[in-house]
Symmetry: C2
Subunit: 337 residues, 2 copies
C-alpha cells in the first residue's frame, strides 16, 4: 500500500514537482486550469501529504505537547480541553502525555518530544527543584510553558492560580457567616498547593478565630473520612463549626463520615472544598468550593506557547496568575447559629 507521493501526482497531472507543491501550499500562484488538473490527480491517486518529509524540510513540526501529572485527573483533563481549543485553532495538533508523577517517565516523554522537534511543550513538572530537562529544551529553542506552577525566574512563561487567595476566600466566607472555630484539612504540606491554601486561610483568619490544622497523607476521599473521624471525637464545645478542605475529594470524605456519625452538614458543621469538581455540586449536600478557571488555564498556556513559538526573539515572557472564585452551595450557605 506504499502510497503515491507528490512525484506521481506530478507525472499523473503532467506537471512538475514544484507545481504540485504550489497547488498545495500557494494555490493562488497556479492557474485555475492547472490547479484543477493537479487536484484531480490528487483525488484519483488518493494522495496524502507525508508529514515527516514536510517536517524534515521545515525543521520543526506542527505539534504541541502537553505533559500532565495524570490524564485521569479531572483538573488536568479540563486544562487539556482548554489547550486543545487554542492549539486546534492554530491548525496544530496537541499530543497529551502523562508523567504519572514519575520523573523517569517525564524524562522519557521529553526526550521523545525533543526527537520529534515539537513546536513547544506545556508542562506541569513533577517536583519543584531545578528542571534540567526543561532547561535543555529551552536551550534547544523549544518553548516551554509551566502550567499550574508559578516560576520564580522570569525566563519562562507560566500560568498558575493564586492558591493563597483561594484559601483566603474560603475563610473570609466562613468568617462572614459567623464561624469562629475553623479547621483546615489537607496534606501533605510538601505540595505547594496544600501549603499555599493553608497560608491564605491562616492569613485571612488572623486573630479573628482559631484554625485547627489536620494534616492528611493524601488528597483522597479516604483521607477525608479519616480526618473527619478526629473531629467527631472532639467534645462538641471544642469542635470546629466549619471545615475548609484542601481539595474536594477530602471534603466529600469529610461530608460522608460526618453524616454517617450523626453530625449534620451544614447544621452542625459547615464545609468548604477546593477545585469545584463536577461532583461537588452533586454531592449529598452540595458542596461549597473554590473554583479554578481550569480551561482558561489551558487556553492561556497554549496561547503563550504559540506566541513564544512564533514571536521568536520579540517574545516577552509572562507569568500569568489567575484568581480563583468561591462557589457557595448548601454546605456553607447559612449563617452560623
Amino acid at each position: 500500500m506504499a502510497t503515491a507521493g507528490i512525484k506521481e501526482v506530478a507525472r499523473h497531472a503532467g506537471v512538475s514537482l514544484g507545481t504540485v507543491s504550489n497547488v498545495l501550499n500557494r494555490p493562488s500562484t497556479v492557474t485555475p486550469t492547472t490547479r484543477q488538473r493537479v487536484l484531480d490527480a490528487i483525488a484519483e491517486l488518493g494522495y496524502v501529504r507525508n508529514d515527516s518529509a514536510r517536517q524534515l524540510r521545515a525543521g520543526r513540526s506542527r505539534t504541541v505537547a502537553i505533559v500532565v501529572l495524570d490524564v485521569a485527573n479531572p483538573f488536568f483533563t479540563d486544562v487539556v480541553r482548554g489547550a486543545e481549543q487554542v492549539v486546534e485553532e492554530a491548525a496544530a495538533m496537541l499530543v497529551v502525555c502523562s508523567s504519572g508523577e514519575d520523573r523517569a517517565r517525564e524524562h522519557r516523554h521529553l526526550e521523545l518530544l525533543e526527537e520529534q522537534r515539537v513546536r513547544g511543550v506545556l508542562i506541569t513538572p513533577v517536583g519543584h527543584g531545578v528542571q534540567p530537562d526543561l532547561e535543555r529544551l529551552h536551550a534547544r529553542g523549544i518553548p516551554v510553558v509551566l502550567v499550574d506552577r508559578g516560576c520564580g525566574q522570569a525566563n519562562r512563561c507560566s500560568v498558575a492560580v493564586d492558591d493563597v487567595l483561594g484559601g483566603r476566600l474560603a475563610v473570609e466566607h466562613l468568617l462572614e457567616r459567623g464561624h469562629r472555630r475553623l479547621a483546615y484539612i489537607g496534606g501533605p504540606f510538601a505540595i505547594p498547593q496544600v501549603a499555599d491554601r493553608h497560608a491564605g486561610a491562616a492569613a485571612a483568619l488572623a486573630d479573628r478565630g482559631e484554625l485547627r490544622v489536620t494534616q492528611t497523607k493524601g488528597l483522597t476521599v479516604a483521607a477525608g473520612r479519616h480526618a473527619a473521624a478526629d473531629l467527631v471525637a472532639l467534645p462538641a464545645a471544642a469542635r470546629p463549626t466549619a471545615v475548609f478542605c484542601a481539595n474536594d475529594l477530602l471534603a466529600l470524605g469529610v461530608l460522608q463520615e460526618l453524616t454517617e456519625r450523626g453530625l449534620r452538614v451544614p447544621d452542625d458543621i459547615a464545609i468548604v472544598g477546593y477545585d469545584d469538581i463536577e461532583f461537588a455540586g452533586a454531592a449529598a449536600v452540595p458542596l461549597s468550593s473554590v473554583r479554578q478557571p481550569r480551561e482558561q488555564l489551558g487556553r492561556t498556556a497554549a496561547q503563550l506557547l504559540l506566541e513564544e513559538a512564533d514571536g521568536g526573539a520579540t517574545h516577552q515572557h509572562r507569568q500569568v496568575v489567575f484568581q480563583p472564585e468561591l462557589v457557595v452551595r448548601r454546605s456553607s450557605e447559612r449563617p452560623w447559629r
Copy 2:
C-alpha cells in the same frame, strides 16, 4: 539553535556517517573504542535524533493514536491509561485526540493522523453507520481498532463490553434481593449502551416482576434528579422498590433527589448504577454499580493494534467482548423487606 546532525557528530568523532548510525542502531557491530568515541561526540554536541528524518526513511512512525469522544470523560481517561501502558512498553508513543462527539473534528483528526503515517489508530467513532474514514485508513494500511463499539463485520479488530450482560447482572441481583417492582432510568435510547443495558434488564426480569422505564434526555445528574421526581410522585404502593440506572451520574442524581424528598436509600428504594465511576463508592450512600474493565479495554485494544501493525498479513482480526462485573454496595445490599 539549529541542532547538530549525525554528520557533525561523525566529523567530530572522526568517523563516517554510517558508523554513527550503527552506534545508534546496531551498537554491537561497532568496536567498543569507536563506539565510545562516537558516544562522546554525541554527548559533547548534545546531539538529539531527528525523528522526522528517521520516519521519512522508515516510511512509518512509532506513534499510535487514540481518538476518544471526550478527554474529560472518566471512562475514556481510564481506557487511555490502559492503552498508554501497552504502547509505552512497545517503545512507542500514544497521542490522544478527542473528537468531542463531532464528526467534523473526528475527520480532521484522522486526516492529520494519516498525514503523520501513524502506526495505527484506536478509536471510538462518532455515530454508528459505515465509517468511510476508517475504511480509507484501513485501505491505506493503517490498522484500526474499534474501542467500546462492537463491529458486525469480521474485517476489523474491536474491543467492547457486553452491556446486555451488564443489565442482566444488575436486575438479577435486585431480583435475588427480593425486589419485584423495578425501574430502569436512562436515555436517549439511540445510544446503543442505553438500549443494550435496558434489553439485558428486561430479559433478566422476564415475567418475574415489572419494569417501569423512564426515558431521560441525557446521562447527567440533573436528568437523574428529574427522573427521580416522577418516582416520588407515585403512590407508595405502586412505586418501584429498586431503580437501575443506565449510568452512575443518573444514579447519583436519583439518590440526591430521593434523599431530599425524604425517601431513604436503600430502605425505601434501592439503587444500582452503571460504570462504577470513582464517586460511586464515595456517594452519600455508596452506590452499587456495574463495573466495566476500562483499563483492560485500553490495554487489549492497544495489544490488538500492535499485533496487527507488526503481524502484517498473518494477523487474524478479533472481536473481543469483555464481561462487566457487579459491585454491590450499600445502596442495594440488604434484602428487601
